[in-house]
């Protein structure tokens, strides 16, 4: 493992826990106290406190002070970094959708062509070549 584990690893690691994601979901609605955050969970305060420490260490939240409370606030930057990383791979799944779009478009055109053929049997338009481009890469 690299020096002190990089920021991105810390972020993904922090997100890899349902409790912490639930805490973030709550914080997305607005700043709130630790006990308020702890309420929905069947676990001790120290456990929640540790989760908050993980989130804070990853830069996903920050804490201030209000009397004896330590209100937590979500910090979008770390989330954005994770999003930026994923951005690089977005084409991998969008490609598939693009191909699906192509496929659906082709089907639609074909259907329209069939319709036309059925309607006016004597004046066939230039038929659409089906699957003109490489059709590989799809699965499941």
């Amino acid at each position: 493992m690299q020096p002190a584990t990089d920021r991105l690893s810390a972020t993904f690691s922090a997100l890899a826990d349902p409790t912490r994601r639930a805490i973030l979901a709550r914080l997305a609605l607005g700043e709130t106290s630790v006990s308020e955050l702890a309420r929905p969970f069947e676990m001790s305060m120290p456990a929640v406190s540790k989760h908050l420490k993980v989130l804070e260490h990853a830069g996903l939240i920050s804490r201030s002070r209000d009397a004896q409370m330590r209100p937590c606030k979500i910090e979008a930057q770390a989330l954005k970094q994770a999003d930026d990383w994923l951005e690089e791979y977005r084409r991998l799944w969008e490609q598939r959708l693009d191909r699906l779009e192509d496929y659906l478009k082709a089907v639609q055109i074909q259907a329209k062509a069939d319709q036309a053929k059925a309607a006016e049997t004597d004046a066939p338009k230039l038929s659409e070549p089906k699957a003109k481009e490489k059709s590989r890469g799809r699965k499941k």
Copy 2:
């Protein structure tokens, strides 16, 4: 921790390691063998093999067979799920950009107004109301 740790946790957990992210980066370029994947790293084959098992378990890669090789292939779906989760929070950082946009726009308008004032000192036009509409909520 929930039953057998949910898929999303497994995905984020898998992404929380620089070696595994590097492996995915390589696989984004195309299917390849385990030893090819292992080459750049200063670690034993079994270590890489374990990383691959983690990635496979998270659904981030799949493996086939070609003679004695087990070529690995990146699977975009799991990545998309992670992206979908982040999607919910995207407004949190885009909001800030929106405000910056508003600010820059306001500055621009102000500068234009100042210019106008300086140029023709006697016929001031109706001033633009700044930030008239809500500018949040759009994405991509």
